[in-house]
């Protein structure tokens, strides 16, 4: 039964368009209108038909998954969300819906994992935090009510408690300078929870510390310095930490994650320019802004100065795309007599937005989701612009 009559006009319009061009992508908004109007069978049928022609169109799979979920066909819904999540590991919505789906299926351990993934991608996601708390609570309750009936929930709750205890202990050891045992403990946690990005980061930090200590025998335990990794507050995990680990964990089809190259020797003001690979504090801060998913700083010649982008595409390829779009757009605006150079380009797509800003001889690329509007994005960028200028 239809819930909302206003949806019919849309359905009619989209149906007409789809009839006139059956290969059109309009089947997705049509299916979504069906779903919103409560016509779930029609939504599913439309998606399935469209996906036969456009099997890699992930937006269709999201609509299909939602329709399945509303029809309480949880297994089918999970299959669709998993396909989206495996095609785009950074798709927060897919992980979130997968988590909710598992929650409805009382698969609490799986739900917890999905919400943890959402939080790894966006630590400030209040909804995911709430859902994770709920999943943990339900896992506990299920464990208490039926001790033998819910092994997965029980193990999830226990594992979470053990993890917290081990984490606290490992951090204590780390603070006391017992790197050896802290590393062992972190490794133990990782064995139980290999996708724990926070622990991976801690382990990575300690291993770096250990390696430094062995190479710099004269100063095995240097005092913490302000601003550097060794001077950070161990209790505070920043999104930058998580993103840094994700560079290692997010699969990339063709190229290694670190595409940061040394700036060319002829680069002007080489002394003032940030050293390749060295974190730029203003960029790190920008990266932590809610809604901002990644940043890239490059020069006009296409040399990457700093990259914190999590996309499936090779950074080299992205850099050449950025260079190309700047050059071609600049050429076009010159022909149009709108100016000699492009200062900023913002592109809004269905899954987010990207802004390219020319700052002197550099280009700052900021990738953001829909949670941030243009004004906030510009405000967040203003500090970086100031520093780079």
């Amino acid at each position: 039964m239809a819930k909302d009559d206003s949806g019919f006009a849309e359905i009619e319009e989209y149906s007409k368009k789809l009839n006139s061009n059956p290969e059109s992508l309009v089947f997705v908004p049509l299916a979504e209108s069906y779903r919103k109007s409560g016509m779930l069978d029609e939504a599913i049928e439309t998606c399935l038909k469209g996906l036969q022609i456009h099997p890699s169109y992930m937006s269709a799979r999201m609509v299909l998954g939602r329709a399945y979920m509303e029809k309480k066909m949880y297994e089918e819904a999970a299959t669709e969300f998993k396909k989206v999540a495996s095609a785009d590991v950074n798709n927060i919505m897919a992980h979130s819906l997968l988590g909710q789906n598992y929650l409805l299926q009382t698969k609490y351990a799986d739900a917890i994992k999905e919400f943890q993934k959402v939080l790894a991608l966006n630590p400030d996601d209040g909804n995911a935090q709430q859902m994770l708390t709920k999943a943990l609570e339900l896992a506990k309750q299920s464990n208490g009510a039926k001790p033998e009936a819910g092994p997965s929930a029980k193990s999830a709750a226990d594992a979470e408690r053990d993890k917290k205890q081990n984490l606290t202990r490992a951090e204590e050891l780390s603070r006391q300078g017992d790197v050896e045992n802290a590393v062992k403990l972190y490794q133990l946690i990782l064995e139980a929870d290999p996708e724990n990005l926070v622990v991976r980061q801690r382990l990575k930090d300690l291993e770096v510390k250990k390696a430094k200590a062995s190479t710099e025998r004269k100063a095995p335990e240097r005092p913490r310095t302000e601003g550097g990794m060794s001077g950070r507050d161990n209790d505070k995990i920043t999104s930058d930490d998580i993103l840094s680990v994700m560079k290692d964990t997010v699969p990339r089809p063709s190229a290694p994650p670190a595409q940061v190259r040394q700036a060319p020797a002829a680069a002007p003001k080489a002394d003032a320019a940030p050293v390749a690979g060295e974190p730029i504090p203003a960029l790190a801060k920008l990266q932590q802004t809610e809604g901002i998913m990644g940043t890239l700083l490059m020069d006009l010649q296409g040399t990457v100065i700093s990259s914190a982008l999590q996309t499936k595409t090779d950074v080299k390829e992205l850099v050449s795309t950025v260079s190309l779009i700047f050059t071609k757009t600049e050429k076009s605006v010159q022909v149009m007599h709108y100016g000699q150079q492009v200062n900023q380009i913002l592109i809004t797509g269905e899954h987010g937005q990207i802004i390219f800003s020319k700052i002197g001889s550099k280009i700052l690329v900021v990738l953001a989701n829909d949670n941030i509007n243009l004004g906030k994005m510009r405000l967040a960028m203003s500090e970086v612009v100031k520093v780079l200028r």
């Binding site: 368009k17 190309l324 779009i325 022909v335 100016g339 150079q341 200062n343 380009i345 797509g349």
Partner: protein, 119 residues
């Protein structure tokens, strides 16, 4: 309501608007209005189309999916381009001190009217 009327309404509501046009993705201009002599989209429709094409490419490369809006600012002007269906786009050019927010809003308001005319 014809296209020109929609475009006229759009530019008259935006402070600092120079002109606007409805262009096909092949660069062919369907209609345009100009508040300043310097704005003649008919001559540069193909350049707009090139920008749209490249932006679409960038959007895909960065995993943003279908492009809906492109904003460009230069040292002299600002441009807002929004896709209308898959075959057209609506563009408005503003002076540097033009009201960008209002421009975006007016473009978004005009799109359904244009889509209605196109069907």
């Amino acid at each position: 309501m014809d296209f020109k009327a929609i475009l006229n309404e759009m530019v008259s509501n935006v402070d600092g608007a120079i002109g606007a046009g409805l262009v096909g993705t092949d660069g062919i201009v369907i209609d345009q209005v100009s508040l300043k002599g310097s704005f003649n989209i008919s001559d540069v429709g193909a350049e707009y189309a090139t920008i749209i094409k490249n932006a679409k490419k960038a959007s895909e490369s960065f995993g943003l999916g279908k492009t809906s809006e492109i904003l460009i600012s230069t040292e002299r002007a600002m441009m807002i381009m929004n896709t209308v269906s898959t075959q057209y786009f609506l563009a408005i050019a503003l002076e540097l001190d033009g009201n960008l927010g209002r421009g975006r809003l007016e473009v978004k308001k005009a799109i359904p009217k244009i889509e209605k005319e196109l069907t």
